[in-house]
């Protein structure tokens, strides 16, 4: 290597470094001061695509109505659904955004850690009450008598079925199963097995959004009593539900099914889209994905069958907006929360994103109840449940998923596994 050449190289690199450092530090100055002078509200969200457009429209309208407040929205990857590294570190570092778009499921755990600003008083002042929203959404936004979030979207889960497959095997595509017996019979008819390999499977209880919460409630079970704080994963009806799932799995061979659906929970390679699965449980967000990946698929949706064929139910999650602890501009943040959660803000957001609003009248006014598919999802919302509002929500969720996996694979009985969940979550809550 040539010595002088290298020396020159090093010199130029050094100069470049210095210039970058200077550039960065001046960047910082302008970035750091922005939240101080004007009435700026920093918003972090994880929305892209149509939801991304929708939030932009909400912001635009808000800024028009509040010319003195400026919203600075930033897309943050991995926010929500248990992956909140950035928001966590920002709060820990004392430098959080003023508003964060937040998975409602996690409100209780974060509130218990003292990481969200309580909104109870502000809501009372401005006349925002439980009556404005679906009951389960309000429930999830609160923790121990305090409100911590303004709910923004919701969803529900139903049985999707492939109408063409129904016709092909002589089932009435306009009369989908309502009882478990009918569901099992239909599944058997729809399944095509060649040798020891499935060409098509009628139904897989735990595929897609077939999480155990839904089955437990459909069987009439329950999971948690917020009054006494008692965890009831091993509720007799829950045990029944898991026993039913286990039997179903045994009939078809759990490993054969699992290999068929791969180990990905949902989404990436949907066998319903490719026509290898005739019925599945999925949320209303699954509709958008079907429109995109299989626009010609002829399908219908119907409430998740129950043992008796009535008392249909489902469960709902959804998103909200929160003010993280230590946010600079809490007044401005509250104004934005209020607008986002109002009928007007909800209508703007829901119309573009096609996510359901947490306000019933908005869903009606946007015509969701006239769309044959969406109507089914909307109509079941008043009957819907929220997952237990507790600090160990994520643990409970994972433990139930483990219990389903273990039971269906013959690794302990449903009774034993659900008892274990009860014990594990109770212990964690006690800590």
């Amino acid at each position: 290597m040539n010595n002088t050449k290298l020396n020159k190289l090093i010199l130029s690199i050094g100069l470049l470094m210095v210039s970058v450092l200077v550039a960065c530090s001046s960047d910082e100055e302008s970035g750091g001061s922005s939240s101080g002078d004007a009435n700026t509200v920093e918003v972090w969200h994880s929305m892209t695509d149509t939801s991304g457009e929708a939030i932009e429209q909400v912001i635009e309208e808000f800024e028009q109505q509040n010319p003195d407040i400026k919203i600075e929205a930033t897309y943050v990857a991995n926010q929500g659904e248990g992956q909140n590294e950035k928001l966590l570190t920002a709060i820990a570092g004392g430098n959080p955004p003023d508003v964060a778009y937040f998975d409602r499921f996690e409100v209780a755990a974060w509130a218990a850690q003292g990481s969200l600003e309580p909104l109870t008083e502000l809501a009372e002042q401005d006349g925002i009450t439980e009556d404005n929203y679906y009951g389960f959404a309000w429930e999830e936004a609160s923790f121990e008598d305090d409100l911590y979030a303004i709910p923004t979207t919701t969803d529900s889960r139903l049985l999707f079925y492939n109408k063409d497959h129904f016709e092909e095997v002589g089932l009435d595509p306009e009369n989908p199963p309502t009882t478990l017996d009918e569901l099992e019979a239909a599944a058997e008819k729809l399944t095509i097995k060649e040798g020891n390999r499935f060409e098509r499977i009628g139904f897989i209880p735990w595929y897609g959004q077939g999480w155990f919460y839904g089955w437990g409630w459909s069987f009439g079970g329950d999971f948690y009593d917020p009054e006494s704080g008692e965890v009831t994963a091993d509720h007799p009806q829950n045990v029944e539900a898991l026993e039913w799932m286990t039997e179903f799995g045994q009939e078809y061979g759990v490993e054969d099914i699992a290999g068929f659906t791969d180990s990905q929970g949902s989404g990436a390679m949907d066998p319903f889209v490719s026509g290898q699965l005739s019925m599945k449980i999925d949320g209303n967000f699954g509709v958008a994905s079907l429109e995109k990946f299989a626009p010609d698929l002829n399908y219908g949706v119907t409430p998740i069958p129950t043992p008796t064929g009535d008392n249909f139910t489902t469960w709902s999650g959804g998103w909200s907006v929160v003010i993280p602890k230590g946010a600079n501009n809490q007044d401005g943040a509250w104004e934005f929360l209020k607008f986002f959660g109002s009928e007007e803000g909800q209508r703007i957001f829901s119309e573009t994103s096609r996510d359901f609003s947490v306000i019933e009248s908005v869903n009606e006014s946007l015509g969701y109840t006239e769309d044959p598919v969406f109507a089914e999802f909307i109509n079941i919302l008043p009957e819907s449940n929220a997952r237990p509002v507790m600090t160990e929500g994520s643990l409970y969720w994972n433990a139930l998923a483990d219990a389903v996996e273990a039971s269906t694979r013959g690794n302990g009985t449903p009774q034993e596994n659900l008892e274990k969940v009860t014990q594990q979550v109770t212990e964690a809550l006690g800590e």
Partner: protein, 277 residues
Amino acid sequence: MQPKVKHNLLRTFAHLGLLIASAFFLVPFLWMVSTSLKPVTQIFTYPPEFIPNPFQWSNYIEATEYIPFFTYLSNTTIITVFSTIGVVLSCPLVAYSFAKLEWKGRNTMFIITIAVMMIPMQVTMIPLFLLFNKIGWVGTPLPLIVPAFFGVPFSIFLMRQFFMGLPNTLRDAAKIDGASEFRIYWQIMLPLAKPAVLAVGLFQFMNVWTDFIGPLLYLTNESQYTLSLGLQQFQSQKGTEWGLMMAVSTMMTVPIIVLFFFMQRTFIQGITFSGIK
């Protein structure tokens, strides 16, 4: 004559083996490229189709419009290039000291260097963040660049192994000629370790180029984002934009492939000492 025949036979077999093996290794890349050219409805067909029909070149244009591709590209390039320079400057130097110089505490320092890699970053990233937060670097690319100039344990260890493999005779000879230690390092040892330096540089380039968690934590303004953060934007609850995402992924691999293609030449011939001796 016989050994020659045998040699040729061996070579033919090796060639054949390479061909078969490379087919196996080509699959993931080809699949990525093919997905990047598929219309969205073709991505989930059963059974899977390998060849896009029709070739949807517009995915590439759409992808660069879906995210501010060129902004992200230049951000990624700046961070990657500087941190690679940092590693290439610092790591061989430190490694040389571990391999060829004798100093008190050397072995302890070396053990510590290896040991710091054994703690998963998942538990150190929060305190590290708080540290950078305290000195006001959060929101700038500095936490992603500056540490590289102080050395990265993986690269130091790798370089050390290479220096350990270089004979001492050259160094001793230079010493007798009265050359300073730095001169020996800079003019004799470093050039000899060129393949290793290039490898270390390449790895750093790749790691930073595709790093996700670092930019996620430290960059707070969308105008500073990198391509790996951009990739995430193709995923939403309503489904992933596979075609567009793979188009960006494919474009992201191009610079690394080009880099690799040129640097791999340095491996082709074993170095010879005869010229320097």
